[in-house]
């Protein structure tokens, strides 16, 4: 169990930091141009962080004691494929959850 002070510190600084990121250009930089290479790298932040964040959950899920698990793997693949195909987060969630429950139901 995490101690409450750590939770509060994270809430506080994540809130302040996120606000400053949002305020950055709109509030301070004004009309000045950003370096091109910087914007080019920013474009990849989402795909650089999120896949890495989830891969340990896929390979070693806590709920199964850390072994690869067919329903979770198939659900992830379904969510990924539908997300790309439909270009929509909603379809991705629906596909992932449906496959997860369906395969869990069939295998158990």
């Amino acid at each position: 169990m995490t101690e409450p002070i750590k939770i509060w510190i994270i809430i506080f600084f994540l809130g302040i930091g996120t606000y400053l990121i949002r305020f950055s250009f709109l509030g301070l930089v004004g009309d000045r141009q950003l370096p091109k290479w910087f914007i080019q790298h920013l474009n990849f932040v989402g795909v650089a962080v999120m896949p890495g964040l989830i891969i340990p959950f896929l390979v070693w899920p806590d709920a199964t004691g850390g072994t690869l698990d067919a329903p979770r793997l198939l659900a992830a693949i379904a969510a990924f494929c539908f997300g790309i195909w439909k270009r929509s987060a909603l379809w991705s969630v629906i596909a992932g959850i449906s496959v997860l429950y369906l395969t869990m139901f069939i295998l158990n």
Binding site: F23, F25, V29, V49, M50, I55, A63
Partner: protein, 240 residues
Amino acid sequence: MKFSPTSKKSAFWLGYRDNIPFWLIVAPFGLLFGVVATEAGFSIFQTMIMTAFVVAGSSQFTALTLLQDDAPTFIILATSLAVNLRMAMYSAALVPHLGRAPLGIRALFAYFLVDQSYATSINIYTNNPKMTLSQKCRYFMGSFACLLPVWLISTLIGALLGTKIPPEYALDFAMPICFIALSAPMMRSLPHFIAALVSMIGTLVFISAPYSSGLIIAAFLAMIAGVQTENWQKRRLKND
């Protein structure tokens, strides 16, 4: 979407209306965040303060994930804030449209800057070059007025339900699905695929890096890989 240059009141409602479809995405994510946060040991009060103060679902999920991994505070903050860096891009992109609004209004809008309100606003600003500053501001307000209450209420419902959901429902996997759903539609090109691949391989390779820093290392490598692939593609196009 065409826009009448005279109306003021309707700009707000247009912004509101254009964002109604996103209820379908915001509500489940809010619900999920409420559930996962309480499962991770957050009180309902902490969950709600976080959701109202940060208003950035994916970084909130990131922080929760790393908290459960027992990562150090500094790493949790650095990684979660990295997830929000894309908003710096949004902020920069809105400057030509909202940059001349008074500082107080811009400071307020900074709090309102989320993926959906950015995407709908920039779309209507670009398609209606004659929109006045005041209409642009009202549209932006409308987009957020549409989404914030749904985000807050759905989080609260999730937090109230949270601990009552039994483990058979595999809620441990709600968060990974959520991140897949957020990142899959971003895979628009080969460079994005390469970046995602490097991110996954890198995280697994650096899994035992000190202070849970593996993800940040992997993310940096992934961004570089994505940009380099993009540059390589451009060079190849030029040479053809």
